[in-house]
């Protein structure tokens, strides 16, 4: 299962509906709050849990193999560039906090707009190079590998 939504925390903002890759977070028309309409299509991917601004969404492991009484909670912060997890075991013996970076740059700033790059030459168009190549393949002056440069050929038949 998957995800479920706490009644008192959800305000029906729809962030989870917007992000769910499986299209299973929907707004209940009477209660005006989100809920998981199809638990057996939930991957426990936590996309909705991370997106919820009120931490209203949680996960209860799949009923067919996961006993009750555990918790895996998460806080994802794009500004800080971190994700914080807390894992609590059913028997209470393990309670772990884990922190990981999600980006090394201020969010979205380091990605080039290719429309603003100078246009490729006709030689490049007819050749095998991609944007930023060959430089970015080896980060030196070396060229792109070819069959010729690597002393190879493609031969039909049974070779191992």
């Amino acid at each position: 299962m998957p995800t479920f939504v706490y009644m008192t925390r959800c305000d029906g903002c729809g962030q989870c509906v917007d992000i769910c890759p499986s299209d299973i977070m929907h707004i209940d028309k009477t209660l005006r709050r989100a809920y998981n309409i199809e638990p057996n299509m939930c991957w426990e991917c936590y996309s909705c849990v991370k997106a919820c601004p009120h931490q209203a969404i949680d996960v209860r492991g799949y009923a067919d193999f996961a006993p009750l009484g555990h918790s895996v909670r998460v806080l994802r912060d794009e500004e800080k560039g971190t994700i914080a997890w807390r894992i609590k075991f059913r028997n209470g013996k393990k309670d772990m906090d884990l922190l990981a970076p999600i980006t090394t740059k201020p969010w979205g700033t380091a990605i080039p707009k290719l429309a603003e790059e100078s246009a490729p030459s006709n030689d490049m168009r007819d050749g095998e190079l991609l944007f930023n190549e060959p430089k970015y393949v080896r980060m030196d002056e070396g060229g792109l590998h070819t069959l010729e440069s690597n002393g190879l050929k493609l031969k039909e038949g049974v070779y191992y």
Binding site: P2, D18, I19, C20, P21, S22, D23, H26, E38, N40, C42, W43, E44, C45, Y46, S47, V59, G61, Y62, A63, D64, F65, P67, H70, V72, F89, R90, N91, K93, L98, A100, P101, I102, T103, G108, A110, I111, K113, L114, P120, E128, L130, F131, E133, Y136, V137, M139, H145, L147, N150, G151, L152, K153, L154, K155, E156, G157, V158, Y159, Y160
Partner: protein, 621 residues
Amino acid sequence: MGYKTIIEDDIDVLIAGAGLGGTGAAFEARYWGKDKKIVIAEKANIDRSGAVAQGLYAINCYMGTRWGENNPEDHVRYARMDLMGMVREDLAFDMARHVDSAVHQFEEWGLPLMKDPKSGKYMREGRWQIMIHGESYKPIVAEAAKKSADKVFNRICVTHLLMDDAKENRIAGAVGFNVRTGNYHVFKSKTVICGAGGASNIFKPRSVGEGAGRVWYAPWSSGSAYGLMIEAGAKMTQMENRIVLARFKDGYGPVGAYFLHLKTYTQNGLGEEYESKWFPKLTEMVGKEYLDTEGQHLSHKPIPTCLRNHAFISEVNAGRGPIHMVTMEAFQDPHLEEIGWHNFLGMTVGQAVLWAATDVDPKYENPELTTSEPYVMGSHATGCGAWCSGPEDVSPDDYYWGYNRMTTVDGLFGAGDAVGGTPHAFSSGSFTEGRLAAKAACKYIDDGKAEGIRVSEQQIADLKKKIYKPLETYKVYSNEIVGGSVNPNFINPRQGLDRLQKLMDEYCGGFGVNYMTNEKLLQIGLKKMKTLEEDMEKIAASDIHELLRAWELNHRVRTSESVFQHTLFRKETRWPGYYYRGDAMKLDDQNWHVLTVSHRDRKTGEYTMEKAPLYHLVGDE
């Protein structure tokens, strides 16, 4: 039905499905097509869609040529060996020679790649894998795609590709519907890059009930790559080459970092090493060329994934299960313990949930492993997908028809799971394939190959009718019964999916029959597929969400039929541990050292199968 028709016209490059392949395509297309109109149609939200929606803790395809670690041909040889010889080596070489440039850009964009503090190189997990903090891998590459694309249409389920009415076998765009508004979307485009996904959930999963979503590959990977392209008449290759994964039981948590970085290992229920004792017999099945236990030991070549599965399955069948991952040694090191948990949180949170729920602390208990149900895809340790042209400077004539990554349909390109014969591309390789396809698509347009495309009103209207038919069927017949889901006139998408999974499992070699099939079983399976296909005409959807499921099922059925045809065609057991042809239990290089290629006639639905020659990279001398 009151759904609007929304037409997006004059598109140059349409990207159908924006996972790692599609985002790579959208990003790169802008460089080669400054003034071109680039449009993305994505079933979910591009920020969290595709197989990498949840994140990744490793990039499994990185050469490291800048540090002299590997050359592209080394990776090709590795993929060849892992896939028992069956690889499109031109495509694999091409991907491998470009892939590092994608990874270096990811680092620049802010993806946290771990580094070895001493050498400053990326932290290696294995020979090809590097470790990352990849929770935001998908949002980061999505950002790159969004910066390049003119428009991103989220929540569009692409159901069909549009064909040119002026010229035979040429692509003209795609159609689908918005899963929120229900509106009909028509994308008229000079080229289409299919970045849609492989197929989970076509074989009956081990999990039942609520847990059916805990499949190894994402449940939203609905085989649309194959469904869309087969329907358009594109030739497919290696569709028999489904993959079975040895993973942590129930949660399907990844084992790569555990094996390679944490140096954990497997043992049987008695605490014994079991793999090697199956190898002599296995060598008899596949030949010394593919498994030479002594030689392999000397050369440090890894054992092919399928053969390791075979040892696993055989040991369990011999009554010495379960197979355990020995974690208790590695997890005594607090640093390694932390990596073990991070590894799950970064890409398979469900496994962490499961261990928390069952109080499995790998420090004090060795967790169980299992072999999964089979999956059909083209970017992990398997290479299902479309038969595509390779690059001009590498490919032999048999593999080359003008544009890199173009299928046998003019103007239709593939990336990631969509391209056949290119295993071990993983996330970075799929992104790279998208870039290669985008460059080629721009060239195709610049060469004037997309002139004079005509899409008739008739084609657009016919497809619209087809798409909404399940809603119509529901409306007409649902009131004939008092209530409930049992109706003599239709089945709902879940019922159809259950039927598909059961017959794939029983006749096409699922886990329920220990991955075993034969010609008789496949023939019966195909017969059942035919009636399922007839019933697909009577599938009903009570709302737009169910309509989405209906079309996902359509793509899964189209994929499955192809898997049946290919499995029937290849009369040998090429990949013991992935599946077995009980009537041909040996690997047969005399007759089957070839790639299988299928074509489904668009009008009649008839399949024709052929063998395509295999070319291998060899030294010049």
